[in-house]
Amino acid sequence: MSIWEYANPLKFMGWTAPLVPVLWVLSGIALTVGLIWGFFLTPDDYRMGATVKIIYIHVPSAMMAINAWVMMLVTSLIWLIRRHHVSALAAKAAAPVGMIMTVVALISGAIWGQPMWGTWWAWDPRLTSFLILFLFYLGYMAMWAAIDDPDTAADLTSVLCLVGSVFAVLSRYAVNFWNQGLHQGASLSLDSEENVHDVFWLPLLVVLAGFVLLFLALVLVRTRTEIRARRLHAIALRERMG
């Protein structure tokens, strides 16, 4: 039995059903612990003051925004190559989650930028590429919404996701070339010199785990909903046929 068996819609519904509550509970715990830890039990940063607490929502949401797109890319590829419907529906389910994460990263960053850089918005490369990512999410979701036939929609959005990913990477480089920027470097990387101090780092990891679990829970529930909606669509069509 190959692993693709699990992508059979019926099987998928079966094995994911018990998983959903577990994910909800785990993500709830991780988020509560991490956020309480980060918000109440960490000191202020000597440079950024209390604003450093924004890091606990900003960084995880930014990471999830990117990860959601990567997941859409992978599931789109699986759909195009192996034509597993669940895969296409999972991509559809992930898009709104990714988009909200992008918006959260943008908003928390903007609020952070006001005290730190004295402006809500600057055309920094990292910020700019996030804005472009947001546009990709919008276009991708608009595409799903605009097409009636589910398989056609899956095919076209997958092609869009593929080409879009290539262009998203291109944009990232182009934007870097265009403007050097104000934004923090990658402070989670271990060899970086300006590592965020351990005090901030540990709770951040916990929140990050919470966001990942929340993302998984949301995508799973949404995928299950999409599968049901698809089934409903088929039944409705059949009833119409009489």
């Binding site: 819609p9 419907h85 398989d151 599968i227 088929a234 069509l237 059949r238 009833e239």
Partner: protein, 207 residues
């Protein structure tokens, strides 16, 4: 081994549900088949599947590559080009050159230099049909070709089809009227897919 076009046990779908199932027929050189069926019975869907514009849900369509000339409700006529320019374009696409035969067959000689937008409904339709002749393809797949045509023009069409058959071609025609062509008829009504068997691969797996 068999005819120009062989359809076996075909199931065709529209909007994700099967419309017709178990359709099968063979079309030999020189033969025409007329599809009958009430409005909404699935003739257009069947023809599009045969022409390769949409994939079959089940079953097979066996036909030589590049053998089919398809003509649908919309006839792909460009309003700002003249009749001759429209035909010449399609002739170029299909690698033929002469359009005189096609003009003559549908009595369009006098209209050759007229822009297509200044044609009446029936004249435009004749132009759409004339395109078939310049394709030079053996299998004609036609969806209600005689819409808007008057009786004389239906006669022209019938003789064009007969000439095509005589030259070793074949034709598959969906229509509601009597064309006066000597041809077999296939009523698609009995092939109507029963709702409960109308399932895509996906729904099958779901249940």
């Amino acid at each position: 081994m068999g005819g120009l076009l062989e359809v076996k046990d075909l199931t065709v779908q529209r909007g994700g549900i099967a419309v017709l199932s178990g359709v099968g027929f063979t079309l030999d050189a020189g033969a025409a088949l007329i599809l009958r069926g009430a409005n909404g019975s699935g003739k257009t869907t069947l023809l599009r599947t045969v022409a390769g514009l949409q994939p079959p849900m089940a079953g097979t369509v066996r036909v030589a590559p590049d053998a089919i000339a398809y003509a649908a409700h919309a006839d792909g006529v460009k309003a700002v080009l003249t009749v001759a320019e429209n035909l010449r374009f399609w002739a170029g696409v299909y690698g033929s050159v002469a359009i005189e035969d096609a003009l003559a067959a549908f009595d369009l000689g006098g209209l050759a230099e007229r822009p297509a937008q200044a044609l009446s409904a029936g004249q435009k339709r004749r132009l759409g049909l004339a395109r078939l002749i310049v394709t030079g393809r053996p299998v004609w797949v036609l969806d209600e070709p005689t819409v808007s045509l008057d009786r004389a023009a239906v006669g022209l069409f019938a003789s064009a089809v007969q000439a095509h058959l005589a030259a070793g071609g074949a034709a598959l025609i969906a229509t509601h009227i009597d064309l006066g062509i000597d041809a077999a008829e296939l009523d698609v009504t009995p092939c109507r897919a029963i709702a409960t068997t109308a399932q895509g691969v996906f729904d099958e797996a779901f249940r």
